[in-house]
């Protein structure tokens, strides 16, 4: 083989090996780190036409509205528990230890990420609330389609309150932890 072809062969094959390695790495990392999103109803009744329920021990995200009056602190520590609901009547309980985001309020849409410890109980590692009062977690908005939702901001004002820069740069994709 002449040296020029040899050089090309080495370069091409090393790029191919590199690309294969990179793809493998990405696919592996993806398979480890994708979290599925559920609504409370989907956790209790199952998701999709086959009604697939998440397994206990699975890591997932859940989005719903905080049931008013359900927020309770346990003991002298920092553990807090509250219920989440979407279209009802199914509710799930979220337990979390730590500081809730500034925008966490009863009746407000939030997203919790964590591990399912019982069929309707989530041990959250992270609780996110949106920087925008009108926000609903993606997926939840669809589940609630047709149900009237009056955001707190629109109860006082006619105009749409929309502070987009904060929603943008806010945090965690516009979430507040």
């Amino acid at each position: 083989m002449n040296p020029r072809r040899k050089k090309r062969l080495i370069m091409t094959s090393s790029i191919l090996v590199g690309a294969a390695f990179a793809t493998g790495l990405v696919l592996y990392a993806l398979s480890q780190n994708i979290d599925l999103f559920y609504t409370p109803t989907e956790i209790v009744q199952g998701k999709g036409s086959e009604a697939v329920k998440p397994e206990v021990g699975q890591r997932l995200r859940v989005g719903g509205l905080v049931v008013p009056g359900s927020v309770r602190r346990e003991g002298s520590g920092l553990t807090v528990a509250f219920n989440l609901i979407d279209v009802g009547p199914a509710e799930i309980t979220v337990e979390y230890e730590g500081i809730l985001p500034d925008l966490f309020r009863e009746g407000q849409g939030i997203v919790a990420q964590g591990i399912l410890v019982a069929p309707n109980r989530l041990q959250a590692s992270e609780v996110l609330a949106r920087h925008d009062e009108e926000y609903m977690p993606p997926g939840l908005a669809e589940a609630l389609k047709g149900i009237e939702h009056v955001p707190p901001s629109q109860q006082n004002y006619n105009q749409n309150y929309n502070n987009e820069e904060a929603a943008e740069k806010g945090s965690g994709g516009g979430y507040d932890r």
Binding site: K7, I10, M11, I15, G18, A19, A22, L25, V26, A29, L30, Q32, N33, I34, D35, L36, F37, K47, G48, R61, R73, S76, G77, L78, E97, G98, I99, L100, D102, L103, Q113, H131, Y135, M136, P137, P138, G139, A141, E142, Y157, N158, Q159, Y161, N162, N163, E164, E165, A166, A167, E168, K169, G170, S171, G172, G173, G174, Y175, D176, R177
Partner: protein, 660 residues
């Protein structure tokens, strides 16, 4: 009245951009010098009217003109004047106006500093800037007019700026970031102009390089300030979250970094030409993609997208036109471009190719991680989320080969390098890096963390190979120090840029592995011990701010041996107009560690949930970014860019004298 002036000026700026997009190109086609030269005047016109429009909006904010809907939605009479000014870019419409002002400023700067370029080329570049302008001005006029009136129902007072944005970091973050984002359009304009003319040579790379570096410097600083702002303002102690908005700015940065290095090869060696052009197109397309993702709201929720589909659709179409158009042009023209230069397997060209491939891979990874949830959802497969663990893992693996190559690159000659010549310095650098990388955590930390050691080794490898490279450059000189100074700013720019990267790796490796975070329940008088420090919660006071009420907690921090460190104040603010609660963190900073206190909520018995972090070396992350930017500025001010300008002036003076 002023509002209408602003709106009208915006329409005029659009008109100028439309003329700019067309007339110079007609001039080029006909060979008409006047039509080409008028590109400059049109650019100035575009800039001046955008500036007028921007000033009109600023005036609206400073004068509390709540008849302008945008002002009413984002300001309030109680808001301090400085934040009334920054509220101009506090929300979508205004920040897009700032974007346009930045775009017009880049174009005007191009018009001023492009006088040494051939007229045909300058006309083409400015025309491309005009075309980009047409798209953006149309977008503003159709979907995002900041001057819309609230008449006849003028509110008495405004609804105030989002509290998160009432912060010094937000004064500079958006302008810097936009300078970077839009600056990529200049590199794009150069690439398209070169493709239009069919002349892709090293002269083109030399012209385009300082502009690319300038845009990259702004983008680096913009991202850095954003990270710093998020760190202290959001109150949860992280410095990078891999959220879609951050990724949107990181994508053009990665592509821009690759472009900067590829341009160096094109300028110095005349190869990689079509690859460089492709990178320039990608960098700008990724800026646009980022804008689309952020502006359309498509990433945040389907809900928001549906609320204003026109914005998203417009940007998506614009993005489509830009990508399709430039790739078509690329397909037609780039095939003719041939590179003749030869290089061996072990040469700087190949190492820079490796750098580029790794950066492009990183770009792809971020792109996949950002877009996959979206695609997944659109395909009806349900909602998924891809978060920090994915990016952290992949980026760790990508950083290893990247840093190793980075150590080799500057030492290696263009074209061909014998490994034996470098073997000793490389082995020495490697031995030092591994030795010290293990020794430092072993001496200073209680636990030796494998990842921290890895990060330190990589960073030290970069530092020692950089030193070896500097030694090599002056090895043959008799007077070492003067020779070092004489190396040239471009060279020092590279050195600083690489050292900045090393400093950043050290910061990331240490803070990720040695950070301590504790959430505790504390009442006034309580003390918590975290990471060798005592945090004493002294008292809680209520305080009245201009547009907020605050609960201020004073903490006394001391060493465990009793030495007093500092008193700091952490706050929980309630903004009365927006009715939002906001955490103001308490920070005590030195170069080697940050002490960080954030108040949580008040509990039933009057005590508070308090989160305390001890974050070693976190400042190094931002210091690294600043160092990289300084490197960029050094490269920009290199003699070869200044000299030519001086010669040019001399030549012009001579010509003028002869004409007399």
């Amino acid at each position: 009245m002023i509002g209408e002036v602003g709106h009208f000026a915006l329409a005029l700026a659009f008109a100028f951009s439309a003329l700019l997009a067309v007339i110079p190109l007609i001039g080029v086609a006909r060979g008409h010098g006047g039509q080409m030269a008028i590109a400059r005047q049109l650019t100035y016109g575009m800039f001046i009217f955008t500036l007028i429009s921007f000033i009109a909006l600023v005036w609206g904010f400073l004068a509390n003109d709540f008849s302008i809907a945008y002002v009413a939605n984002n300001s309030n009479t109680a808001l301090p004047a400085i934040y009334r000014f920054t509220a101009v870019w506090g929300s979508h419409e205004g920040s897009f106006l700032l974007w346009m002002l930045v775009q017009a400023s880049w174009a005007a700067a191009l018009a001023i500093f492009s006088k040494r370029l051939p007229l045909v080329f300058a006309a083409r570049v400015l025309a491309v800037m005009g075309m980009i302008g047409v798209g953006f001005y149309l977008f503003m006029l159709i979907t995002s007019n900041p001057f819309e009136r609230t008449i006849p129902l003028i509110p008495v007072d405004g609804r105030d700026l989002n509290p998160l944005l009432q912060d010094p970091g937000m004064i500079i973050h958006p302008p810097l970031l936009y300078m970077g984002y839009v600056g990529m359009s200049v590199a794009f304009a150069f690439a398209i102009a070169a493709l239009l003319g069919g002349r892709l040579d090293s002269a083109w790379a030399r012209w385009s390089r300082p502009w690319t570096i300038a845009a990259w410097v702004f983008l680096t600083l913009g991202i850095m300030v954003g990270s710093w702002w998020a760190y202290y303002e959001l109150g949860w102690g992280g410095w990078w979250f891999w959220d879609p908005v951050e990724n949107a700015s990181f994508l053009p940065w990665l592509a821009g970094t690759a472009l900067m290095h590829s341009l160096a090869v094109t300028e110095k060696r005349g190869t990689f030409k079509s690859w460089t052009v492709l990178l320039a197109i990608s960098a700008f397309s990724l800026s646009l993609l980022g804008t689309f993702l952020v502006r359309s709201g498509v990433l945040v929720s389907v809900h928001a997208f549906a609320s204003d589909p026109t914005r998203g659709m417009f940007l998506l179409s614009f993005l489509g036109v830009v990508i399709a158009g430039s790739l078509l042009l690329y397909a037609i023209r780039a095939a003719k471009v041939k590179s003749h230069s030869r290089y061996d397997l072990f040469s700087r060209e190949v190492l820079l190719l490796g750098n580029n491939l790794l950066l492009v891979t990183a770009t792809m990874v971020v792109l996949v991680g950002t877009l996959l949830p979206l695609v997944h959802q659109q395909l009806g497969l349900g909602n998924i989320s891809i978060g920090e663990p994915f990016f952290d893992e992949v980026f760790m693996w990508l950083t290893i080969p990247f840093a190793i190559l980075l150590g080799f690159g500057p030492l290696t000659r263009w074209k061909r390098q014998k490994f034996a010549e470098l073997r000793n310095s490389l082995l020495l650098a490697m031995a030092l890096a591994i030795g010290i990388g293990f020794a430092l955590p072993w001496i200073f930390a209680d636990v030796v963390s494998g990842l921290a050691v890895l990060g330190l080794i990589l960073a030290l490898w970069i530092v020692f190979t950089t030193v070896a490279e500097l030694r090599l450059r002056v090895a043959s000189r008799e007077h070492k120090w003067p020779a070092l100074v004489k190396l040239g700013r471009s060279h020092w720019g590279m050195v600083l840029g690489h050292l900045g990267f090393a400093v950043m790796i050290i910061g990331i490796a240490v803070v990720q592995n040695y950070e301590i975070e504790r959430t505790v329940r504390m009442g006034a008088g309580d003390t918590a011990n975290v990471g060798g420090y005592e945090f004493h919660f002294r008292d809680m006071q209520e305080r009245q701010g201009p547009n907020f009420i605050s609960d201020s907690a004073t903490f006394v921090i001391s060493r465990e041996n009793g030495n007093h460190v500092a008193n700091v104040v952490a706050e929980k603010r309630f903004y009365t107009v927006t009715r939002q609660i906001q955490t103001q963190t308490a920070l005590q900073v030195n170069p080697f560690r940050d002490l960080y206190i954030a108040l949580g909520e008040e509990l039933d018995d009057g005590s508070w949930a308090v989160r305390i972090h001890v974050k070693p070396f976190v400042r190094w992350i931002w210091a690294g970014a600043i160092l990289m930017s300084i490197g960029g500025v050094f490269s920009l001010t290199d003699k070869r860019y200044r000299l030519r300008r001086r010669e040019e002036k001399k030549a012009r003076k001579q010509a003028a004298a002869e004409a007399l």
